[in-house]
């Protein structure tokens, strides 16, 4: 660090050197044989004669600037990282809850196991614009390109970090990373050695985790875990049970080997079974009526992933990854089974001094088998789809100082629904100095049709009968439906004046085209003992939208005992349907994502054994859903009574006994999020 101190020091040194030379001169005069050679050698040479203990006693003159890895600051995207420490201190018990912490995300709890999660607008129960991955495995299902959150779980203590990238990620990750990428990264097995037993309970949920990690000979490590979570029912506005409880059991393992010759190998797998309660509408044709019906979704599944990483040199490496994922989801008479195989290869290398190149190719095959029912059906009932793609990205240092980088890249992908898709981006990152970075990006990303968009037949609502014949609205997939695409312009500024303070601002302007709408088609009669009329609603691409917004976040740690984090998100959406579109509901999407959101987190450690944390959220109203603005307060106290034992008490939604955060648009009733207390103990051995 340039400053006064080194200059002063140099002067002192100069003076000392001078006096030494004079002394040397005298000595030379005085003694005929001269002095020993090492006296005339310079300082560092004689320092090497010091013992380690002597060296450890010496103070250095210049304290170098903190050299923390600054990858985050170097990203040319709106990225936020939720660390293991953030997770622990939050007291939250599920993945979706953790995502609330990420600035710029829209996260709403719909009912016990259903969430609306998106970034930069278009929030919905079946939000399909986010790419969510766990250790490189895609969590969303091609059935609707969203995530079945009710069947997702992970040992939260084993998460290393969650990277949340807002904005398009299609150039690297491919289709459906339209508005963001969430990358959940678990720890290497070498970092989870020993045992962990944690358990907790409260008025809304109970859970328990057992995990053990050990060594596999000299080079490898493993961990195994088993976990169970059980959530109780939320309540309806009336105070009645909402029938939305959930139970999930999971077990799994991860093993990592570091092998000679630059090879690393990871093998991991999970198996799980979940059941969650929901409420839908049962349609009866005689007399035409619609009544709420409770049902349970059972999902079982498993996955196995292996990743082989090989460093070829200090500047070149490749990674090959393969996974298999299986699930079966059953509710009422619906049965959906899906097998996915995914192979991915990537190679990163430095080319010359200025180019950091990553390229790769991937292939995914997913096959499903649907047991069709009168309410939910797919045509065809079985389908195998393949996605093959390749990408490249070059990060080019534009100048000698390497503070100006241009990043260009694109993904090219072929899918069975819409054929070839390209998703290029161009980014520019300028590191103004050690503390400040500005970046800007121009990108294109696509959302390819899901199985439901193309082939689904979902009977949704009973309309008033005409002439004694029931009218049933049916959502019908359209095999000719096109990809939705977005052109996004983003810019951001990051400043970290010290290691204790950071601030990040990003702004975006997205132009969405080809958005899917639901268009009415001519009704037709279904003959039978009980004839009824189907009013088809078919997917077309007949809308466009512009969205823009601003995301601000800041982090300030005035001392080791206090930390404050805050974030503000402002979002504007304009949706226009084409002149020939009859979808009057598409425009109401605007009112489903909050215009303003604010969050404040306070962390305080009064002593080495006690942590306190509080999180305050303000979420603007959702006019289309009649959800009023709300303030939510979560708080936690953690007490480490021994090195290996921590107790904690977490309160969620403390300000209100219950409040809605979203509305279940596909069900007849709306759950309200309850106030809850959760006490937990974690023992490590």
């Amino acid at each position: 660090m340039p400053g006064n101190a080194p200059i002063v020091m140099n002067r002192n040194l100069q003076a000392l050197r001078m006096s030494r030379r004079l002394l040397l001169f005298f000595c030379l005069l005085l003694q005929p044989t001269g002095v020993s050679a090492n006296v005339s050698a310079d300082d560092s040479a004689s320092l090497t004669d010091y013992s380690l203990e002597q060296l450890m006693d010496l103070s250095v003159a210049v304290t170098s600037a903190a050299r923390k890895p600054q990858k985050l600051e170097d990203a040319a995207a709106a990225i936020y990282v939720i660390t293991q420490e953030d997770i622990r201190r939050s007291g939250m018990t599920s993945l979706p809850e953790l995502l609330r912490m990420a600035p710029g995300m829209q996260v709403a709890h719909i009912d016990g196991s259903t969430w609306a999660i998106s970034s930069r607008g278009f929030n919905a129960k079946n939000s399909d614009n986010l790419l969510v991955m766990l250790d490189g495995r895609v969590l969303h299902t091609p059935t609707f390109t969203g995530v079945y959150w009710d069947a997702q779980d992970v040992v939260l203590e084993d998460i290393e970090r969650i990277e949340v990238i807002r904005g398009p990620g299609g150039a690297l990750w491919g289709a459906n990373a339209v508005s963001g990428v969430i990358n959940i990264i678990t720890k290497s097995a070498s970092a989870t050695q020993g045992g962990l037993v944690s358990g907790g309970g409260g008025n809304f949920e109970r859970q328990g985790t057992v995990r053990y990690g050990g060594k596999i000979n000299e080079t490898g490590n493993f961990r195994i875990y088993a976990r169970n979570i059980a959530q109780d029912n939320f309540r309806l506005a009336s105070g009645a049970d909402a029938h939305d409880q959930r139970d999930l059991r999971s077990a799994g393992f991860r093993a990592d080997w570091g092998l000679a010759g630059g090879n690393s190998l990871t093998v991991q797998g999970d198996t799980y079974a979940s059941d969650s309660d929901h409420t839908g509408s049962a349609i009866s044709l005689s007399p035409p009526s619609s009544t709420p019906i409770g049902y349970t979704i059972d999902q079982k599944g498993g996955n196995l992933l292996t990743r082989w990483k090989r460093a070829l040199s200090t500047t070149s490496e490749w990674t090959a990854q393969f996974y298999y994922d299986y699930y079966e989801r059953r509710y009422l008479n619906v049965d959906e089974r899906r097998d996915t195989y995914d192979l991915d290869f990537q190679h990163r290398f430095l080319w010359g001094d200025a180019h950091d190149i990553v390229w790769g190719a991937g292939y995914r095959q997913t096959g499903d088998r649907m047991d069709n029912t009168i309410v939910v059906a797919f045509d065809p009932a079985r389908r195998d789809d393949r996605v093959a793609g390749a990408f490249f990205q070059d990060e080019i240092a534009l100048n000698r100082d390497k503070d100006l980088h241009l990043i260009v890249g694109s993904k090219f992908e072929h899918n069975d629904y819409t054929g070839f898709e390209h998703q290029p981006n161009v980014r520019l990152r300028w590191k103004l100095d050690e503390q400040r970075t500005v970046w800007t990006a121009l990108s294109r990303a696509v959302h390819t049709p899901s199985r439901t968009d193309a082939d689904g037949l979902v009977t949704t609502t009973l309309l008033p009968a005409t002439g004694g014949i029931a009218n049933v609205m049916q959502l019908q997939g359209n095999p000719a439906v096109q990809s939705e695409h977005v052109r996004a312009f983003e810019a951001g500024y990051r400043i970290h004046p010290s290691t204790r303070a950071q601030m990040d601002v990003s702004a975006f302007y997205n132009a969405h085209r080809n958005l899917m709408t639901i268009e009415p088609a001519d009704p037709y009669l279904v003959a039978g003992a009980q004839p009824y009329r189907i009013m088809p609603r078919i997917f077309y691409n007949k809308a466009s939208a512009t969205t823009y917004g601003l995301e601000w976040s800041g982090n300030w740690q005035p001392s080791d005992k206090w930390q404050f984090k805050a974030a503000y998100t402002w979002l504007q959406m304009n949706i226009r349907r084409d002149a020939d579109s009859l979808d009057t509901s598409i425009e109401s999407e605007v009112g489903r994502s909050p215009q303003n959101q604010f969050q404040l987190h306070v962390f305080h450690s009064p002593s080495a054994h006690v942590d306190l944390s509080g999180a305050l959220y303000y979420v603007d109203s959702l006019p289309s859903l009649n959800v009023p603005a709300y303030v939510r307060l979560d708080a936690r106290i953690g007490w480490r009574i021994r090195r290996d034992l921590e107790l904690s008490l977490t309160g969620r939604n403390l300000l209100d006994s219950r409040q809605p955060e979203f509305v279940n648009t596909s069900g007849p009733r709306t759950s309200e999020v309850s106030r809850s207390l959760f006490g937990a103990a974690t023992w490590r051995f």
Partner: protein, 180 residues
């Protein structure tokens, strides 16, 4: 008598020189000191049998300046083995090195370096926060203006190196990023 005078003068000059040198060393530069540390640490590390003369490579620029040059040819660990010093370019083959200092500009290559040095008998050294937890064997840090170092023993063992207990007693021992 004359002999005695010369002896006295020599001793006196020696003492004066020490006096003159001591304050200069009270404020050595950070990297002069770290270079001296590296030279000393090498004496407490046992490389796999048949290793070449100690060869210190530096990757990611040369933060040591002239102090690095001063190490060249110094006998280590035994008088007959002279230390070699090489400044490496990114992408160079590190397997010829017995010690590799990874300067912070090479930070983003650390994982690859750790992978390549596994089982290759290379003592990896750094001075960037978190390096040891990420797999560097020795990592310097500053504490109250003094140089300290941490050692990731697991990685050193996997790398085929034996580190003397004396060195370990002076170091902070770290594991891979363990949870708390």
């Amino acid at each position: 008598m004359a002999l005695l005078t010369t002896m006295t003068m020599r001793l006196l000059c020696g003492a004066l020189l020490l006096l003159a040198l001591t304050p200069a060393h009270a404020v050595p530069s950070e990297y002069d000191l770290k270079a001296a540390f590296i030279f000393q640490i090498a004496k407490f590390v046992e490389w796999p049998a048949g290793s070449a003369p100690p060869r210190l490579c530096v990757l990611g620029g040369n933060p040591f300046g002239a102090a690095l040059e001063a190490l060249r040819g110094k006998p280590s660990p035994s008088p007959e083995r002279k230390m070699e010093v090489t400044l490496l370019d990114m992408g160079a083959d590190i397997r010829e090195c017995s010690m590799l200092f990874i300067a912070s500009p090479a930070e983003r290559h650390l994982e690859r370096i750790v992978a390549i040095s596994r089982g290759a008998g290379i003592l990896t050294i750094g001075d960037t926060e978190g390096f040891a937890k990420r797999g560097a064997m020795v990592n310097f840090y500053l504490e109250n203006g003094k140089v300290r170092f941490e050692i990731n023993l697991d990685v050193a063992r996997q790398g085929g190196l034996k580190i003397s207990s004396k060195l370990l007693s002076l170091a902070r021992i770290v594991d891979f990023q363990q949870d708390r």
